[in-house]
């Protein structure tokens, strides 16, 4: 590598500074929106489903801070509750898919052989299915709702996590401490749980972090095409879908859309920041 000169060192430090700003911005956005979502019952000035007759399509300000929709429901309250739902669905979907996928990946990576190649062919098939189709099929079988979106997101991420953690297990299997444990007669189950799993954890956390913003987007997208929680429960995707019928009232699209953008941007910045800490290389691959 090249010699580090003073100006280069300076620019590197400045770059770090710049990255820390990004990390802190992400943290503030995510914590803020998480708090807003968690405290939605306390913060929301109105019920998210209550309709106020005669108050339809109000503008900003007054009794309804961010206006009301076509049914006279408070946009602010609905957005707060929708953020809560988006975070919950994204977290659960990625959490379930990542956990199950990672465990499968660790086992097949450690065991290897026929089982490994068989499961890998299955992930080939799984990765080929676009998420919208997974969502549609899940909804077609079990009906629409948050659970359908969670299952769709989990199924979408499952094969990707199988692959990533399998790769990690393959590498770890060749490490001396695993070989030592095996030669001492430690059971395979114990080796996987005690030695392989803990060493694969940082990678797992990193990939979950990278998957989360996309999962929130997927949740919104799937509820946008009507696969999410049925009305009147507020979801960001559904609110945006309703806004399609009132394009002359842009406020209905802007408020939930901005909340969604801020949430996704915040999660992205946070994930990138965490990645810089855990894995300082310029680029590390995303799960999907």
């Amino acid at each position: 590598m090249s010699v580090i000169t003073a100006p280069r060192l300076l620019s590197r430090m400045r770059r770090r500074e710049h990255r820390r700003v990004a990390l802190v911005t992400g943290l503030v956005l995510v914590l803020g929106l998480c708090a807003a979502g968690l405290l939605a019952p306390l913060l929301a000035p109105h019920s998210p489903v209550a309709q106020y007759p005669g108050e339809e399509l109000r503008g900003y300000g007054g009794r309804f801070l961010l206006g009301t929709d076509d049914l006279g429901r408070d946009t602010l309250s609905r957005t707060l509750y929708a953020c809560r739902a988006a975070l919950l669905v994204g977290l659960l979907g990625v959490g379930i898919g990542a956990t199950v996928g990672s465990l499968i990946g660790l086992v097949i990576g450690y065991v290897g052989g026929r089982l490994d190649s068989f499961v890998m062919r299955l992930t080939d098939i799984g990765i080929g299915f676009p998420v919208v189709i997974v969502g549609i099929v899940v909804v077609a079988i079990g009906g629409p709702g948050p659970q359908a979106v969670i299952i769709a997101i989990a199924l979408y991420y499952l094969p990707a996590f199988v692959r990533i953690l399998r790769g990690s297990a393959l590498q770890l299997r060749a490490r001396p401490f695993v070989e030592a444990a095996a030669s001492m007669g430690v059971k395979d189950r114990v080796i996987v749980l005690r030695h392989v799993l803990p060493n694969a954890l940082p990678l797992f956390v990193l990939q979950v972090g990278l998957a989360l913003p996309d999962a929130v987007l997927l949740d919104a997208g799937l509820s946008f095409i009507g696969l999410g929680a049925p009305p009147p429960s507020p979801t960001l995707g559904d609110m945006l879908s309703q806004a399609r019928s009132y394009l002359d009232v842009p406020r209905l699209a802007i408020v939930p859309g901005l909340a969604l953008c801020l949430l996704v941007i915040g999660l992205n910045l946070l994930a990138d920041g965490v990645r810089d800490v855990l894995d300082p290389r310029e680029s590390s691959e995303r799960a999907r």
């Binding site: 890998m120 919208v132 953008c261 996704v264 941007i265």
Partner: protein, 322 residues
């Protein structure tokens, strides 16, 4: 090389066959009776039985699967149980629409993303780099369907300079078809452009540290010459697998965007045919989607190993770039 290609083809065929089993099984798990939908709500039970018989729904599942597979391979895709049109015609025109959107979007993503990434890498650490980074952060955080809505509100409703969607056929009204693609292309292409910009930046910075770059500079070659002759080729190599995945994900994104802009594409057809339990259309579409995805990955693998023979052995062991 031949062995490698043949091996990958065989692998792809097996995966596709597995996918077709999954598609078939999953569709039969769906509640709802296609015969009932086809016959209509007022049909007597004898009519429904007759329809069921004609559709072959009485045969055991494996038989149904093999019959379908045989028909599929011989090119007989059947007729839509809803519209009565041949599946090949329905799916064909929808796929053409989606392919066109995917093409324009890929062009936009590459045309914007690669130059931006190049700029950011060559001006690393300057305000230009930071500006591109900011653009990337925002573009990756904005959901494409929301961007689509906002674009419609601004350009179709407020200024009415571009159509909010449409179903103009390229063969009949080329200008109309292309202008109706402008807004969906921007909505769909912004995030991939940002992703490509990031990856290009990383790839360029990595390549610039390679020995052959130092060599070129030492020989007194101009920066522009080096970029054209050496750098871009290596960067392209790094981007290939990602481009393949991108095309696959564009197909998905198209499904949602098509419903925002009411484009008669494959994504909307999938949603419609699921709602109507149109098995013939749905099966074909799903298998084609998976096939396209596998094909794109396959082409990327082959190109990758042509451009860089070292990866061939690796790919053979790992079974694909991903």
């Amino acid at each position: 090389m031949t062995r490698f290609v043949l091996g990958r083809v065989a692998q792809m065929a097996v995966t596709l066959l597995g996918a077709s089993v999954v598609v078939f099984t999953v569709l039969r798990l769906m509640p709802g009776d296609p015969a009932l939908v086809y016959a209509g709500p007022f049909a007597g039970s004898d009519v429904v039985e007759a329809v069921r018989d004609r559709m072959g729904l009485h045969d055991p599942l494996p038989v149904q699967y093999l019959l379908w597979l045989k028909a599929f391979v011989t090119g007989d895709l059947g007729v839509s149980s809803i519209s009565g049109l041949p599946v090949s015609q329905l799916v064909g025109s929808a796929l053409a629409q989606t392919a066109l959107l995917t093409l324009t979007t890929s062009l936009l993503a590459i045309g914007v993303g690669v130059p931006l990434g190049l700029l950011a890498a060559l001006r690393k650490g300057t305000w230009a780099d930071r500006l591109v980074a900011g653009f990337n952060t925002v573009a990756l955080g904005v959901p494409n369907f929301w961007l689509g809505l906002i674009l419609v509100i601004v350009f179709a409703i407020n200024f009415s300079i571009l159509p909010a969607g449409g179903s103009a056929k390229l063969t009949e009204d080329p200008l109309g078809a292309l202008t109706s693609l402008v807004l969906p292309t921007i909505a769909l292409g912004l995030a991939p452009a940002a992703m490509l910009a990031r990856l290009t930046r990383g790839a360029v910075i990595e390549v610039m540290h390679e020995d052959f770059m130092t060599m070129a500079a030492a020989k007194g070659m101009s920066i522009g010459f080096v970029i054209r002759r050496s750098l871009l080729r290596h960067v392209f190599l790094n981007l290939l697998p990602v481009l393949a995945i991108l095309v696959g994900s564009l197909l998905t994104g198209a499904a949602i965007i098509e419903s925002v802009f009411t484009l008669p594409g494959a994504g909307r057809l999938i949603i419609e045919s699921t709602r109507q339990r149109d098995y013939a259309v749905l099966q074909t579409l799903l298998v084609i989607f998976v096939a396209v995805f596998l094909l794109v990955t396959f082409v990327a693998d082959i190109l990758y190993s042509v451009l860089d023979p070292r990866v061939r052995g690796h790919l053979m062991r790992e079974g694909g770039v991903r």
